[in-house]
Symmetry: C2
Subunit: 290 residues, 2 copies
Amino acid sequence: MKLFAGLSAFPITPMTSAGEVIVPDLQGLIRRIEAGGADSIGLLGSTGTYMFLTREERRRAVGAAIATTTATPVIVSVGALRTDEAQAHARDAAEEGASGLLMAPVSYTPLSEEEVFQHFAAVASVTSLPICIYSNPRTTNFTFSPAFVGRLAAIPAVAAIKLPLPTGDIASDLGDYRRAAPGLSIGYSGDWGCKDALLAGADCWFSVVGGLFPERAAALTSAAMAKDRAEADAHNAAFEPLWELCRAIGSVRVMYAAANIIGLTQAQPPRPLLGLNPADRDTLAAILPV
Amino acid sequence: MKLFAGLSAFPITPMTSAGEVIVPDLQGLIRRIEAGGADSIGLLGSTGTYMFLTREERRRAVGAAIATTTATPVIVSVGALRTDEAQAHARDAAEEGASGLLMAPVSYTPLSEEEVFQHFAAVASVTSLPICIYSNPRTTNFTFSPAFVGRLAAIPAVAAIKLPLPTGDIASDLGDYRRAAPGLSIGYSGDWGCKDALLAGADCWFSVVGGLFPERAAALTSAAMAKDRAEADAHNAAFEPLWELCRAIGSVRVMYAAANIIGLTQAQPPRPLLGLNPADRDTLAAILPV
């Protein structure tokens, strides 16, 4: 199976209020994901609050996660505001044994296409790992057009793209990127639209709920990839109440609270992010798909 | 005169490609701003690429700038992704002798109002310096409504707000914030709209061109604050070709190239930001208001 394919599960990265990774809690999450049958682990993604961790702590998380897995490949997010920082994260991830990299064009000053291209080329130049482009316009203020993805795909290390859900039809969106970059694996994030993305032929579901509920997410993935629409719909419906809360107050906040309720960690999201208010927490406790 | 009033000039922060502040070049820019008659220096603003600098380098820039000024107050941006980091920057700035702080709700995961409120309250709790709210929706994905600014204004340290240019009428926008937060100094950034903001009664122009052309920017500010529309219009018109280029390719990139051309520094913007292409650089050289 290709690396950027099937269910890629994105755990939170439990940390202390001072930003130190709580290794035993992270390892518990990693074991749970592997036992649940995910095809890969998406470490330090947006749900894994990578931008709130120092280089040292990111590397510690990567090392701890890889030491815990037996067979599941670990994909590590290496996004950073500076190009040299992103290069350093890529080198660290490779040295710790990562199987692939995920990179968003994180920005403060919105970036031009040429800047994003040079940024990816610079990171590709320091690694032999395959890179997945991370398109996340909501946090990076950068939109990857199909034509620009086609240009990036000419960089040999660039192997995949993680797309956000389109506002329009997902089959048509997928077709646009397939035609522009036929060699890339194409996956989606935005959990509530990923069943339809997989049914439409997407390669990968980059999944937030997969980080906590890998078994159900893997079942949904298998059904959708086998084009078993009825089975996929049933799994999807079971997640819907959770996704409603994620859409309302943000997946990261909800996943932290869910992990707290299940008893996997007592870590809180890094400030300024806040945990759930009591009412939302009660709602969450009542709808957890466990 | 109030701290957050008149012309606040925002220089670039010259740094090496490794992110080390080039102190003599920064000091040259600071001397130029002070000689030009700015009312304050906005150090480490967006133009000063603060998010691309480590804590140590930010502190070094603050110390060097304050050691160079004789009377002009220095306002330091302390925005950071983590609340504890922003607090650390605030403490550093105070220890180095800053007169005030500017803070944007920098984010990766878009923040809620409650999260932004707690973030400002937490930074205010560790400083006795006045804080200016920095509203920059384009980079932070957070919009400060007048009602929310009214709520923030109840934090004693919160003394001012730096607003982006509105899409609609500036006098009406200013009126909305004045009514919501009558105790705050209110200023604008977006150089091309600031003459009108000052004519409409805004307290401060947070100025990018003021960081390189302080004399002309100060003349524009004085004319506009004295409601001398004809004089203000004349100064404004002289800047317009430069602003056209800023709107097209971004102020930070243009200010770096302008400083290079004038001979104030040979520093380049931090990667992934790129300098101007040769054609844009030629255009810039021909229109510099020197």
